[in-house]
C-alpha cells in the first residue's frame, strides 16, 4: 500500500469501450488542477473494440517517479476487470464495483457495491456508466469537487449542452449513491497546493512538444502503436510553426523522407516503434555513412516481431545501437520520464545536427501513454543548436577531414558547394573510393567524431555518494530509473546501503563513469524490462564490470517492491 499521507493510487478497469480512459483522464486532470503531482499508467487491448482496459492515476504531494507498486482504490466496471485484478486486492484496498456482479470480497478489502449499470440505465444513458463510477469515487475519496466539475464541463461542453447535462446527471447520481454508503476505509486524497505552474502531458505528446522546441521543420512517420500520438500531436501543431509533415507509405519511406529533408538543410525527425526501427535500419546505415543528421524516436513495445504491441518493454537497446549492417553505430539516448521526453528530444536534435549522425531516442510504451505533471517548460531558456555550415572559404569538400572529424555541411542552393551525399565509401570530396587506406580513414572519421560526445553531453545521474561504500549499486535505464529511485529511498529507510546509476546517453557509452560508480559497490545490479538483459550485456562487453542482471518481460514495468525484493536477495 502507498503511504496515503503523501500519495494515493486509483485503478479503474473495465472493457475497452466503457469509458475507462476518459474516466481516468478526468481524475488525473482534476487532481492536477488542485495542485497534486500526477503519474498515470494505462494498459489497453491491442484490438480496436472490447477487451480489458485499465487506467491508473497516482496522485501525490511530492514528485512521482513511477506508477507505484499496486493501488489503493480499485474500481471495476465489470466482472472480468475484477477477476484480472483479484490477486492485487490486498487488505486495506478500497474496492468500488458495479453491483451487476457479485464478487467474493477478499479479507480486509473494503467493498463499495455501486449500481452503475442500473443507475445509468435508469437515467436513459447506458454509456454514462463510467460517469456514475466517477461520481461515486470522487465522493468516497475526496477528489476536489470544483476542479472535477470544471474538467467535466470543459470536456463535455464542446459536445453540446445536452451531452454535458446528461453526463453531469450521471456523475451526480454516482455522488448520491456513494453518499448513501457508509465510509469503511480511511483513504482520503491528500490536499494539493493550488499555485503550481505545471502542464500535464503524455510522453508521446511531450516528444512532439520537444521537437517543436528543438526547431523541427520536417516530420514523416508511418502509423504504429505506441508511437502514433507523436505524429498526431505534430500533425496538429507543426504546421503552426511553418513546418511540413507527411504520413509516408511505410517506415522505409518515412526515414528516407527525413534524410532527404535533412540533406535539404532542415531539421527532420521520424517516430516509430521496434518493427519500424527494423525496417529503417538500412537507411540509418545510409545516414551514418553519408553523415546526414537524422533523428528517430523509438517508442519501444513488447517484441520481437509483432510481439505485444500495446505493452511495455525495453528491448530495442541493441537494435538501436547496432542494428545496421557493416560498421555502424547510432547515438542512443533514453528517456526516464515525461520531462525527459521534452528536453531530450531537443538534445537528440541538437546532437544529430552537431555530430551529423543518426540519433535514436528511446522511449517506452508505458511512458507514451503516461500523463505526468511537469513544470511548464520555457522554450526561450532551452538551447537549440544548428549544424556546422560551410563558411564559403576555399574549395568545398563535403567530407573534409577536420580536427574534430566533423565536416561542414552546405545546403542545396549554396553556390560553389555542389556535392554528393553517398552511401558508397568515398573520399573527402564524395567521390567513390574503395581502397583499403581510404576505408580505414573514413571509418575512423565516422566513429572518432562521436568520441567527444560524452565530454559535452553527460545526462547521467548518480544517486548516492561516490566516495562511500555500498552493498549494492543499481544501474537502470529508461523508465525503470524512476522505479529504482523509489526503491532506493525505501531500502535506505530499512538501513540497506544502495546507490543508483542512471545513464541516459547509452551510446557512445560512458565507460569510465560506469566503472567509477562500480568501484565502491560490492555488487552491481542491472535491472531492465527485457529477456536478454541488454544493458547488462553491453556493460559486460564494454566495461570491466560483470553485473548481476535482473530482468522481467511480462509486458509491465517494474514496481519498486520488485526492485527492493531483488536487492534483499542479493545481500
Amino acid at each position: 500500500m502507498t503511504d496515503c499521507t503523501h500519495d494515493m493510487i486509483f485503478r479503474i478497469a473495465g472493457d475497452g469501450g466503457e469509458g475507462i480512459i476518459s474516466c481516468g483522464d478526468f481524475i488525473a486532470a482534476a487532481c492536477a488542477r488542485s495542485g497534486l503531482e500526477i503519474y498515470t499508467f494505462k494498459t489497453f487491448p491491442a484490438e480496436v473494440r472490447g477487451g480489458y482496459a485499465m487506467y491508473q492515476v497516482r496522485a501525490g504531494m511530492k514528485a512521482l517517479h513511477n506508477q507505484g507498486d499496486t493501488f489503493d482504490i480499485f474500481c471495476a466496471l465489470n466482472k472480468e476487470a475484477y477477476e484480472i485484478n483479484i490477486s492485487h486486492l490486498l487488505p486495506g484496498t478500497a474496492f468500488v464495483y458495479d453491483d451487476s456482479f457479485s464478487p467474493d470480497i477478499p479479507d480486509g478489502v473494503l467493498a463499495y457495491p455501486i449500481p452503475m449499470t442500473t443507475a445509468s440505465k435508469n437515467l436513459g444513458f447506458k454509456k454514462a456508466k463510467n460517469m456514475v463510477a466517477l461520481g461515486a469515487i470522487s465522493e468516497l475519496f475526496n477528489i476536489p469537487a470544483k476542479p472535477l466539475k470544471d474538467v467535466l464541463s470543459d470536456k463535455f461542453r464542446t459536445k453540446g449542452e445536452e451531452v454535458l447535462h446528461s453526463n453531469l446527471a450521471a456523475f451526480d447520481k454516482g455522488v448520491e449513491l456513494a453518499t448513501c454508503m457508509e465510509k469503511v476505509d480511511k483513504l482520503q486524497l491528500p490536499k494539493g497546493t493550488e499555485s503550481k505552474d505545471v502542464i500535464m502531458i503524455s510522453g508521446n505528446e511531450a516528444i512532439g512538444l520537444g521537437a517543436l522546441i528543438g526547431g523541427l521543420n520536417f516530420f514523416s512517420a508511418y502509423p504504429i502503436t505506441p508511437a502514433s500520438e507523436i505524429a498526431k500531436y505534430l500533425a496538429m501543431h507543426l504546421p503552426k510553426t511553418g513546418g511540413s509533415l507527411i504520413q509516408a507509405e511505410d517506415e522505409i519511406a518515412s526515414i528516407s523522407q527525413v534524410i532527404g529533408a535533412s540533406f535539404a538543410g532542415k531539421k527532420a525527425m521520424t517516430a516509430t516503434s521496434g518493427p519500424g526501427i527494423a525496417l529503417m535500419s538500412e537507411m540509418l546505415g545510409f545516414a551514418f555513412m553519408s553523415e546526414t543528421p537524422t533523428v528517430v524516436v523509438d517508442v519501444q513495445r513488447g517484441g520481437p516481431s509483432t510481439g505485444l504491441p500495446t505493452k511495455h518493454e525495453q528491448s530495442d537497446l541493441l537494435a538501436a545501437i547496432y542494428g545496421s549492417h557493416g560498421d555502424t553505430v547510432r547515438i542512443v539516448l533514453s528517456v526516464e520520464n515525461v520531462a525527459d521526453c521534452i528536453s531530450m528530444t531537443v538534445d537528440a536534435m541538437n546532437i544529430a545536427e552537431s555530430y551529423q549522425s543518426p540519433v535514436i531516442l528511446l522511449s517506452e510504451s508505458s511512458l507514451a501513454f503516461s500523463s505526468q505533471t511537469i513544470p511548464t517548460p520555457d522554450p526561450n531558456t532551452i538551447e537549440v543548436v544548428q549544424r556546422k555550415r560551410w563558411d564559403g572559404e576555399g574549395e568545398y569538400q563535403r567530407y573534409e577531414m577536420t580536427a574534430d572529424f566533423i565536416s561542414p555541411m552546405a545546403d542545396p542552393g549554396t553556390p560553389c558547394a555542389l556535392h554528393i551525399a553517398t552511401g558508397l565509401e568515398h573520399k573527402a570530396d564524395g567521390r567513390p573510393a574503395f581502397t583499403q587506406d581510404n576505408h580505414e580513414v573514413m571509418s575512423n572519421k565516422r566513429f572518432d567524431k562521436l568520441k567527444s560526445l560524452p565530454d559535452h553531453y553527460h545526462p547521467v545521474e548518480i544517486d548516492g555518494d561516490l566516495k562511500t561504500k555500498a552493498d549494492i549499486g543499481i544501474i537502470a535505464w529508461g523508465s525503470t530509473i524512476g522505479v529504482v529511485r523509489e526503491a532506493i529511498v525505501r531500502l535506505r529507510e530499512e538501513g540497506i546501503s544502495v546507490k543508483g546509476f542512471y545513464p541516459k546517453l547509452l551510446w557512445p557509452m560512458q565507460v569510465d563513469q560506469f566503472e567509477t560508480f562500480a568501484k565502491r559497490c560490492n555488487t552491481i545490479l542491472v535491472v531492465e524490462v527485457n529477456h536478454q538483459g541488454q544493458l547488462a550485456h553491453l556493460i559486460r562487453a564494454e566495461t570491466s564490470l560483470n553485473p548481476v542482471s535482473h530482468t522481467i518481460c511480462g509486458g509491465m514495468p517494474f514496481t519498486p517492491a520488485n526492485i527492493e525484493a531483488t536487492v534483499r536477495e542479493l545481500l
Binding site: 512538444l209 513546418g243 511540413s244 511505410d250 522505409i252 554528393i420
Partner: protein, 287 residues
C-alpha cells in the same frame, strides 16, 4: 548563376562508368541538354538516385546530389522536395530500382503528385549485378538466374504510372537523344510528378532487348493523340501493346495541385509562421 550554361557545362568532371554502347549515355546526354535548354542553376538542382547502373548518374552531373539506397530515391526526393520546394528535383534510376525493390514507393509519388521529374532508364535487366531478369524482362528471356526462361510476366510501367496519378508521362528510346531531351525538358518544366520512361539498351547483359530490338518496337504517338485525356492515354498503351509496339513521345499531361502546394495551403490554414509562439501550444497542455 550569370553566364550561359551549355550542355557540357552540366558535366561534373567524373566520367561515366557505363559500358560502351549503354543506352544510359543517351539519357545522360539528354539530361545535360534539357538542363541547358532551361538554363537550370546547378546550385538549385538536386539529383537523387538509388542503386543500379543508371543510378550512378548523379556522379556525372553538376548539381547537389544524393546517391542513396536501392529503391529509395523516390521517398528521399519527396522529403527533400517538401522541405525545400524552391529546389528543382530530378530522380534518376532504373527498372529494378524503381519497380522491383522501390515499387512500393511509385504509387505514392504519383498519387501525391510530388513536384519532381523521374527519369527511369529501363534496360529490362539488372546490369550492375551482371544480368538477372528484372520486372520488365520478357518472360522468355534466359538470364543469370533464369536459365530456362523466367516464370514472371513483365510489368507495364507506363500503365502503372498513369494509374498511380503521375501528371506527366512520356516514353522515349535512349537512341533518340532529341526526343529524350524534349521529354525531360518538358518534365522539368512541368509542375507535378513527371515520369519519363527511357528504353535504354544494356549491351553487356541483355542480348535479347538490344538497341535494334527497341528500335523495332517503338512507334511514335500519333500527333492527334489528346495528351490531356487519361483514358485515351491508357487505351493507347494497350492498343500499342496488342501490336507489340511501345509508344514514344508525350503520352499524358495534366495539372493537379502538388504535394508541396497542398502542404503550403495547410500551413496557411493553420496560421503557420516561423515566429509562432510555442508557448501557445504549451498552454494547451495545462490540466
Amino acid at each position: 548563376m550569370s553566364e550561359i550554361m551549355k550542355a557540357k557545362d552540366y558535366q561534373s568532371g567524373i566520367h561515366p562508368v557505363w559500358c560502351a554502347g549503354c543506352g544510359n549515355y543517351g539519357a545522360l546526354a539528354a539530361v545535360y541538354r534539357a538542363l541547358a535548354e532551361l538554363q537550370i542553376d546547378p546550385a538549385h538542382l538536386v539529383n537523387i538516385s538509388g542503386i543500379g547502373c543508371s543510378s550512378r548518374m548523379p556522379y556525372f552531373l553538376k548539381a547537389f546530389k544524393m546517391h542513396t539506397l536501392h529503391g529509395r530515391a523516390g521517398p528521399v526526393a519527396t522529403g527533400l522536395q517538401l522541405a525545400r520546394p524552391d529546389l528543382k528535383v530530378l530522380v534518376t534510376g532504373g527498372d529494378g530500382d524503381g519497380f522491383s525493390i522501390g515499387g512500393g514507393h511509385m504509387p505514392h509519388l504519383g498519387r501525391t503528385n510530388v513536384n519532381l521529374t523521374y527519369v527511369l532508364m529501363d534496360n529490362h535487366i539488372y546490369g550492375l549485378t551482371k544480368g538477372q531478369a528484372s520486372p520488365t524482362s520478357r518472360r522468355e528471356m534466359k538470364a543469370y538466374t533464369t536459365p530456362y526462361g523466367g516464370i514472371e510476366a513483365p510489368m507495364w510501367p507506363l500503365l502503372y504510372m498513369l494509374t498511380y496519378g503521375a501528371t506527366y508521362v512520356g516514353q522515349a528510346f535512349a537512341g533518340n537523344a532529341k526526343m529524350c531531351a524534349e521529354l525531360i525538358k518538358g518534365g522539368l518544366e512541368h509542375k507535378g510528378m513527371a515520369y519519363i520512361h527511357i528504353l535504354s539498351q544494356c549491351p553487356s547483359f541483355n542480348k535479347m532487348d538490344t538497341a535494334d530490338y527497341f528500335k523495332s518496337i517503338i512507334k511514335d504517338i500519333p500527333e492527334k493523340h489528346d495528351i490531356t485525356d487519361l483514358r485515351k492515354a491508357m487505351r493507347l498503351v494497350y492498343k500499342f501493346r496488342e501490336q507489340e509496339k511501345e509508344p514514344v513521345g508525350l503520352l499524358y499531361k495534366t495539372q493537379r495541385p502538388t504535394l508541396d502546394d497542398i502542404m503550403a495551403d495547410l500551413v496557411k490554414q493553420a496560421g503557420g509562421s516561423k515566429d509562432y509562439d510555442i508557448r501557445k501550444i504549451i498552454d494547451l497542455s495545462r490540466p
